[in-house]
Structures are given as structure tokens and as C-alpha cells.
């Protein structure tokens, strides 16, 4: 807990108060971008099955992400083009790591 007083707004009123560490470190909400594909679990990239610029149909397997001893197929969410690949085979990645940028057709 930090000792200095900070503002907290509840129903338009500004209160002077201390913040907790949890409040200070809370994650700011960001609207998800459908063109960015993030890892849903931390793990290791086993195999990448696509290349940049490639056209891919919805449901096709893009890569294999191994986590908790399971080989997870990461599939293309929509028909589209692979814009950029941010990962390499064998790379260990955390959760919510940006793996691919795509462009919807």
C-alpha cells in the first residue's frame, strides 16, 4: 500500500484515498483486436505450419503450441492472410503473447 493520497472516482465524486498494490497494478481493459492472435496458455511452439503472406482458410491449423503435455492446434479464426509471424519453433512463450498478425479477407 502506498502512503500518499490518490484520487478514486466513484459516481462522479473524487475521493482522496490510498491505493492498494492490486489496484495500482490492475490490468487496463483493451478491446480485443481480431487480427492479432495471442497464446491462450503459456507453452512451447512445436511447429509453425504457415508462412508470411500465405492465404489460409478458416479452421486450418496454423501452429502447434505445447502446454501441460498437450499439443494444442492453433487454428485460423477466419479466412484471411498471414501478415506477420512473431514466434519461432522451439520458443517458450508466456500467456497472452502475440504470436501472429493476420488480415481478414
Amino acid at each position: 500500500m502506498s502512503e500518499e493520497l490518490k484520487p478514486l472516482v466513484v459516481h462522479s465524486a473524487v475521493y482522496k484515498t490510498e491505493w492498494t498494490k492490486k489496484f495500482e497494478n490492475r490490468k487496463k481493459w483493451q478491446a480485443p483486436d481480431p487480427n492479432l492472435i495471442h497464446s491462450f496458455i503459456p507453452g512451447t511452439i512445436i511447429e509453425i505450419r504457415i508462412e508470411e503472406g500465405q492465404e489460409v482458410k478458416e479452421g486450418e491449423c496454423l501452429l502447434i503450441l505445447e502446454a501441460m503435455k498437450m499439443r494444442n492446434r492453433v487454428e485460423m479464426p477466419v479466412d484471411g492472410v498471414i501478415k506477420k509471424i512473431h514466434i519461432k519453433p522451439g520458443q517458450q512463450i508466456p500467456k497472452a503473447h502475440l504470436m501472429l498478425e493476420i488480415e481478414q479477407k
Partner: protein
């Protein structure tokens, strides 16, 4: 002559078992800054009051070359003793014997003393210091854990159950403490986690130290698994003994009464609260201005500090306090503070401890993170706990009592027995700023000087609704009192509630929003 020989033989056998894991293992334990299991038990209990049982229990493992191994007491010490002259059951895992690992007989010793505690209706203290399941005993050790968890659950709400984490407590083992009423941790010594750092690293690639993952501070501040945090084992034992002075020995008794005492006079109740409802103060000073000897024994001090819970005495009797803390996050309710308060309310209700609620909050914490973390179902716990509780329930509204926060904090509408308000109380659907913006939206928008109009409307709303008298006119609060009268009103209300009888409808149990 033969009797003498038998006695000498007994002494020799005892002496051998009392060595635990032997000199080397004890040396290692001491090097880690830890007391041995027997030293811990002796330090918690009254001097020379400990009686140990099942000293000669042997493990029954036969696989993996275990048959030849001797594990004294199978790695756990169990028995009975007294604290301030009153009986308790206790067990302490002995890390010097096979790392305190839990096998079948180790678990049997624990469940035996648990059954004893429940039957005798005395508190159970469990000291955890164990590497976890004894792998060589396979599924038998899992069965042992399960039998302990089951007994923790059955004893819950009947006898006080106290867990002391004085070493590692990992994997399934953590669930016994999690099921008990109060968990004590000590800096640098306590470690609790489901999955350790090494597994997390190999499986998920995340690197974290044991201390950062599940050390004492983490559980006291972040996870809310621990209720009391100490810098040393001895400080921890003092906390346990102090806690036991505030709580009854079982659910059919009341906590022991102490000689009544006046507050110390250090805290002047009229000087603590700023008149501007947007400025903070420390609600604990209000509690200390009304309790006997100005003493307040806080529970979960470092977790969700926007609500304060703990025990104090009034006229010698234990009272559970639940109070919004304007000093932190303006005293809002959120997921963590709702969980914290709700469990404490249920504890007090189960053990016949009257609840005094001190209210000063602007409502629930706004934010996407809170909504997505489930502030609806977490917040509902506090409503459930207050509504369900049948112990005497008294509320004092000090300043803000807005919206859902007003309803949640033991309002008249949820079976409060007494609701008092200070003249500074503002009982309204929301604060003047928010309300004026909505009610007078059109007037403000159409005004030549919207800001001036806004301020004027805020002022109008403030004068009309930001007071206790609208609620008092409806009988939602019983009396508007001067701050100085707070202690006397509470003493009176508690005295009137002494023989309270109140029952909900017959049911197997409710379905609280766990």
C-alpha cells in the same frame, strides 16, 4: 524387580522416538531458522501441559525398500494440552522425519486427534511442515489427505480450527489449512502452493522463486489465504494465543468474558472523521475509541485493507467488527473485500459472536477488471452472510452509505437488529455529485453556465438527501446519535440482544454464492 525393568525399557523406547529424525536432521531444521515440532508444540501450549499420543505408531509402507526403515512417530506429533488453562488438541508435522511426508499412519494419527477434538468440542491446532505426500505410499497418502479434508469440513463451524504454516505446505496438503478458520504464516518460513516453482518452470516456462510464488507475505497480502502474518515463530504463537482469548471453545459456548474496561481515551471519537465525506481517515481509530481498553485484534490486516475485520471487547465480551476503511480505496467494496468480510461474518455467526458494522463507503469499486473478476457473485457473498447471520447485528452509519453499499453493509432490510447513524451520515442511492448529474441532466445541459448549474444542483441534492433524516423518517434507521454516544449505544444494544432468538426457515443448508 521386573516392573522396574519394564519401566526402564519404556523410558528407553520413548527416548529413542523422541529424537525424531535424529541429530543431523534436527541440525538442518535449526539451520533453516525453524524450531522442531516438539519445541513448537511446547511453545504454544501451557508449560508442561502437553501429553503426546501415538508415540509408537509405525509406518506400514512395504514398497520401494521402505519395510526396513524406521520413521519415528511416522513424522507427526499429536496430543492434547492446555492454553491459558483450557484444553486443546494439537498436531505438528515433524520435518526431521522423512521431511514430514504424509503416509497412511501419519494421516491416521492426524485424523485420530481431529476426531478427538470434534468429540470433545475443543479447538484443533495443526502445525504444517511437510514435503507433501509420501510418494512411496502411493494412493494411501492421497486417501490420508482426503480423510483430513473431510474432517476439516465436518468440524467447520463446530470447533475452532487453526492452521499454522511453519515450513512447506504444497500440493494437496494446502487444502487442509484452506478449509480451517484461521491460517497463520511466518516470514521466510511459510511456503504454500499447489504447484511448485520447478514444475511451473518446466511446464509453463515461467520462472519464479518459492517466496514470490507462495511465501508468507504473498498469502497475507495477495491471495488472502493467510489471516495472520508474523516475523518469527514466537510472534506467531503469541498471535494464536491472543486469538484464542477472543473466541469460544466451540459453537455451543460464548467467548470467555473479561473484566470490562473503558477505552483508553487516546482516540477522541469526535476528532477522527473529517467533515468532507471525500477525505479519508483510519476507521480503526473509531473502533479503538469504542472498545474496552481501546484494543482491537485485527484479522487479515494486509489483505483487502479497504475493509477492516477483527475482534474487540465491549463490556468484557467479544464483538466482531466489520468496518469500511475510507483510508484505502475510499472504503469501497470489491471482490476481495467482499470475500474477506463475508467469511468473517459467517465465522462470527457460527461461533455466537455479535457483529458490529461501521459503515462509510461510496459503493462498489467500478472497473472492467472488477466486473470481469466477478464482483457480482463475490459481492453477493456479503449480502448472503449478513442476511443469514442470526447473532446480534448492529450497524453504525458514520458518513457515506450509498446505493448497493448501503444495502450490503448490514442494513435494516437484511435483518439488522439495530441501525444507528451519526448526524454526518448520508444515506442515499448515490453521492450528490453522481445523483445531480443524472436527476438534473437536462437542466445542467441547457443552462448557460452548465458547471455553475451543476454545482448548484449538487448543493441542492446535498441539502435535501445527504443526511440521515430521510432514512430515519422511514424507520430504516432507529436513532440518529451523537458520535460521543456510540459506545454507550452499542453497549446498550448488545445488552438488549443478549438473549436474541432468531431462526430462518428449516433447510438442509443454503446455496451461498461461494
Amino acid at each position: 524387580m521386573s516392573l522396574k525393568r519394564n519401566i526402564l525399557d519404556l523410558r528407553k523406547r520413548k527416548e529413542e522416538v523422541l529424537q525424531g529424525g535424529g541429530e543431523k536432521a534436527i541440525e538442518k531444521q535449526v539451520k533453516m531458522g525453524k524450531l522442531t515440532a516438539r519445541e513448537r508444540v511446547r511453545a504454544i501450549l501451557d508449560e508442561d501441559s502437553f501429553h503426546e499420543y501415538d508415540l509408537f505408531v509405525e509406518h506400514v509402507a512395504r514398497d520401494f525398500n521402505m519395510e526396513g526403515k524406521v520413521l519415528h512417530g511416522d513424522g507427526v506429533i499429536t496430543g492434547t494440552g492446555t492454553i491459558y488453562g483450557r484444553p486443546v488438541c494439537i498436531f505438528a508435522q515433524d520435518f526431521t522425519v522423512a521431511g514430514g511426508s504424509l503416509g497412511l499412519m501419519h494421516a491416521r494419527k492426524i485424523t485420530k486427534i481431529m476426531d478427538h477434538a470434534l468429540k470433545m468440542r475443543v479447538p484443533l491446532i495443526g502445525i504444517n511442515d511437510s514435503g507433501g505426500a509420501r510418494i512411496q505410499e502411493g494412493v494411501n497418502s492421497l486417501a490420508g489427505y482426503g480423510e483430513i479434508f473431510y474432517r476439516n469440513t465436518m468440524a467447520s463451524g463446530v470447533i475452532p480450527q487453526i492452521s499454522v504454516i511453519l515450513g512447506p505446505c504444497a500440493g494437496g496438503a494446502v487444502y487442509s489449512p484452506a478449509l480451517t478458520d484461521f491460517v497463520f504464516v511466518v516470514e521466510n518460513i511459510s511456503k504454500m502452493f499447489i504447484t511448485g516453482p520447478s514444475v511451473i518452470k518446466t511446464v509453463l516456462g515461467e520462472e519464479i522463486s518459492m517466496e514470490e510464488l507462495g511465501g508468507a507475505r504473498v498469502h497475507a497480502e495477495t491471495t488472502g489465504n493467510a489471516h495472520f502474518y508474523a516475523m518469527s515463530e514466537m510472534e506467531c504463537f503469541d498471535q494464536i494465543k491472543k486469538l484464542l482469548t477472543y473466541i469460544p471453545w466451540n459453537n455451543s459456548k460464548k467467548a470467555e468474558a473479561f473484566p470490562p474496561q473503558e477505552p483508553s481515551g487516546e482516540f477522541k471519537i469526535e476528532d477522527i472523521v473529517p467533515s468532507d465525506p471525500k477525505l479519508p481517515y483510519d476507521i480503526r481509530h473509531i473502533i479503538q475509541s469504542i472498545t474496552d481498553g481501546s484494543e482491537f485484534f485485527e484479522v487479515m490486516e494486509n489483505f483487502a485493507p479497504n475493509i477492516v475485520i477483527g475482534f474487540g471487547r465491549m463490556d468484557g465480551n467479544t464483538v466482531g467488527f466489520v468496518a469500511n476503511q475510507p483510508k484505502v480505496l475510499a472504503g469501497v467494496l470489491d471482490c476481495d473485500s467482499s470475500d474477506k468480510a463475508a467469511r468473517f461474518i459467517r465465522y462470527c455467526d457460527a461461533f455466537n459472536i455479535p457483529i458490529v458494522t461501521l459503515e462509510d463507503l461510496p459503493g462498489y469499486l467500478p472497473g472492467v477488471d472488477q466486473e470481469h473478476a466477478g464482483v457480482i457473485r463475490h459481492g453477493a457473498k456479503i449480502l448472503y452472510a449478513y442476511s443469514e447471520a442470526t447473532v446480534p447485528k448492529i450497524t453504525v452509519i458514520i458518513r457515506k452509505a450509498y446505493g448497493g453499499g448501503y444495502i450490503a453493509m448490514n442494513s435494516r432490510h437484511m435483518r439488522a437488529d439495530f441501525v444507528f447513524a451519526w448526524p454526518t451520515a448520508e444515506i442515499a442511492v448515490m453521492g450528490p455529485e453522481g445523483a445531480a448529474n443524472i436527476v438534473f441532466r437536462k437542466e445542467i445541459m441547457e443552462a448557460e453556465d452548465p458547471e455553475a448549474m451543476r454545482q448548484q444542483k449538487i448543493q441542492e441534492y446535498k441539502e435535501k438527501f445527504a443526511n440521515p433524516y430521510v432514512a430515519a423518517a422511514k424507520g430504516y434507521i432507529d436513532e440518529v446519535i451523537e458520535p460521543e454516544q456510540t459506545r454507550n449505544m452499542l453497549l446498550h444494544a448488545l445488552a438488549v440482544s443478549e438473549n436474541k432468538e432468531d431462526r430462518g426457515p428449516a433447510k438442509k443448508h443454503g446455496v451461498p454464492p461461494f
